[in-house]
């Protein structure tokens, strides 16, 4: 595949810039060998052609000073940089750049755990630190703190937070649990946010807001700076942990199930993100579609019924956990059980009741033990690609049913299974839908792309916006947040023009394009 160049750059200028970048980081940390190491910067699961999001090169600094030097070179040579941390943002683009020909600024070498404070329960991390790395560090040093990880544990703590990801413990809203950033701006200057703006601050990782405007959020899902350090709060290991699973027999139970969950979440009776997972999603990590259905298109209800009976799954499967002293968990469970008992056919499962794959990996995730099991979903039908459709809605039975029916109808109509789960936060549902596909089948890829675009527009028409999306759909999702004549984006464009006038940082991220 032909190697793209950064827009507006000649080959001679590009080669000269690569030499300069090599002088900063060492030539062995500049990758421009199309077909060789540079190929590892592709989105291996892309819903569109890899050629649409292909870097011209990658450069990997090992320090803040090197990041600053690279940024200054980018301004001098008119380069476009696409920062990544661990590059595992799969389903949303992986390590690939939004704009073809951008140079990936790979921060993986900056993988130092700079501080862990057990007393105040936080860590200060560089962007290359993975969940697995932090988890193992805490274990090896007998530090009684838990991490909160995304389902694939190879991801990065900083990168997931910068993309506003979520996890499974009570610390699952990662932006909420982030405290303090260090950011290299587009002109090469460095700032620290919150209390870190004081040179001698004693509480950079303890108080998020500092004094004056609170900027941290501005750097998430944006292209206004490069986060080189981040503070994250870690959960103290609780004196008790009780995961639970609740199944309901019918898809129509979704309404009552969500109505039951809302007060339990708002009142913090269930302290972690509760998941209501559709049967196909739950079965997909441990069973294969062809064992129950060999026809074309989505699995029919009759096959699902047999599969659910075999695997002991409900049409919907609720996951949650309790954390704390046993007497407190006893009281919490009484409230939860009493509420769910109202649903006919409900079943409850606890530790020791089942040993299937779904139990194992979700029980681990809800106590911050990283694993890779969720990738087994790709074995459901032998897929080699996946992207997530992720709209937000209120926590009401009405909205959940409306979303489920809308998304299932569209995905099924295009020949795809509905593989979805509802993640119940404090006030909102993240509806996460895995789109699984076979990348070598052009006809299927065409259907997928049309389907995805229809999902975005149909959800938006119903008032549901995506919280995060793949590179290929960023402009479209941006267009759905269009209130006040696209007022939000006019401000974002002004910020971009002011803070990155040469447009060197991640052009097109979240639909924010430089004006040059």
């Amino acid at each position: 595949m032909a190697q793209p160049l950064p827009e507006g750059i000649s080959k001679a200028q590009f080669d000269e810039a690569l030499i300069k970048l090599g002088e900063v980081v060492g030539p062995e940390w500049v990758f421009a060998d199309s077909g060789g190491s540079l190929d590892s910067y592709k989105d291996a699961f892309s819903p569109v052609s890899e050629a649409e999001h292909r870097p011209s090169a990658a450069v990997a600094p090992n320090s803040v000073e090197e990041v600053q030097a690279i940024v200054r070179l980018a301004n001098e040579y008119d380069l476009e940089l696409s920062p990544i941390s661990t590059g595992k943002n799969y389903a949303y683009g992986g390590p690939a750049p939004r704009k073809n020909g951008a140079i990936v600024l790979d921060l993986k070498r900056m993988n130092r755990i700079l501080e862990v404070n057990e007393e105040s329960a936080y860590a200060l991390l560089e962007p290359g630190v993975t969940y697995i790395q932090l988890y193992e560090y805490l274990k090896e040093n007998n530090i009684k703190l838990w991490i909160d990880c995304a389902a694939p544990g190879w991801g990065g703590v900083v990168g997931n937070t910068m993309d506003r990801g979520a996890g499974y413990t009570p610390y699952g809203d990662h932006v909420v649990m982030q405290c303090g950033m260090e950011v290299v701006m587009a002109d090469g200057d460095v700032i620290r946010t919150g209390m870190g703006a004081m040179e001698n601050s004693s509480s950079w990782q303890l108080f998020k807001y500092g004094y004056g405007p609170y900027l941290d959020g501005m750097f998430t899902q944006s292209n206004l700076g490069i986060c080189t350090k981040m503070g994250v709060w870690l959960m103290p290991e609780p004196p008790g942990y009780r995961p639970f699973m609740i199944t309901v027999p019918n898809e129509d139970d979704l309404y009552q199930l969500i109505e039951t969950l809302r007060p339990l979440k708002i009142n913090m009776v269930i302290p972690n993100a509760a998941f209501a997972v559709h049967m196909v999603y739950e079965a997909g990590v441990q069973a294969q579609k062809h064992k129950y259905f060999t026809g074309k298109g989505p699995m029919p209800p009759s096959a699902m019924k047999k599969m659910g009976a075999d695997l002991g799954l409900g049409a919907w499967n609720v996951w949650g956990a309790l954390y704390g002293p046993p007497p407190i968990m006893d009281v919490q469970w009484q409230a939860i059980e009493g509420a769910f008992r109202q649903i006919p056919g409900v079943k409850f499962y606890f530790e020791g009741d089942r040993s299937d794959t779904a139990w194992t990996y979700r029980s681990n995730l809800m106590q911050g033990i990283p694993n890779m099991t969720e990738f087994s979903l790709m074995n459901w039908d032998g897929s080699d690609g996946h992207a997530s459709f992720s709209p937000i809605s209120p926590v009401t039975g009405r909205d959940a049913v409306k979303q489920f029916e809308l998304v299932r109808e569209i995905t099924n109509r295009y020949g795809f299974d509905y593989v979805g789960e509802f993640v119940i936060g404090w006030r909102e549902i993240h509806h996460i839908v895995w789109m699984l596909y076979h990348r070598a089948k052009p006809e299927e890829m065409g259907r997928l792309q049309t389907c995805f675009k229809e999902l975005i527009d149909a959800a938006a028409a119903a008032g549901y916006g995506e919280y995060r999306t793949h590179l290929a759909f960023m402009d479209q999702v941006k267009s759905t947040y269009n209130a006040f004549d696209n007022g939000l984006w006019k401000v974002n464009d002004r910020l971009k023009a002011e803070l990155d006038p040469n447009g060197i940082l991640a052009p097109g991220k979240s639909g924010i394009w430089p004006q040059k």
């Binding site: 590892s40 993986k108 790395q133 530090i143 294969q288 194992t360 087994s376």
Partner: protein, 125 residues
């Protein structure tokens, strides 16, 4: 209190004459005592591969499950295979295959990839 604080080192750097924020950052980054050290093929496998390729085709380990489905149970556990060559392993790691994504040289360097490929093709020895 158990606290491991590299910032203490940065404070020393700052006190020794560095005035602006860039230099404070410099002190912080000069300390890398908690960065992972260079590791063996076995350690590399444990870090990057085991969670997908350990034994058990029930879905807990997606790589093993996929190999069981595509190549059969006898070739499902990658460390138990005798048909793999180092160059093939390296190709797969850098370029991906099926549901396995790529690994970049910043995750597994070329020398580390050599060690990892040897470890895998030697059956985990």
């Amino acid at each position: 209190m158990k606290t491991i604080n590299v910032l203490m080192l940065s404070a020393l750097f700052a006190l020794s004459g560095c005035g602006d924020s860039d230099d404070v950052a410099s002190g912080l980054d000069a300390a890398d005592s908690m960065a992972p050290a260079a590791i063996s093929g076995a350690d590399l496998f444990a870090t990057h591969c085991a969670r997908c390729h350990n034994p058990g085709a029930d879905g807990v380990h997606p790589g093993t499950q996929q190999l069981a489905l595509t190549r059969g149970e006898e070739q499902a556990v990658i460390l138990q295979r005798d048909d793999l060559q180092p160059d093939y392993v390296k190709q797969v790691v850098r370029h991906g295959i099926g549901a396995m994504a790529t690994f970049r040289p910043t995750e597994i360097s070329d020398p580390e990839l050599d060690a990892l490929a040897r470890y895998v093709t030697d059956g985990g020895r």
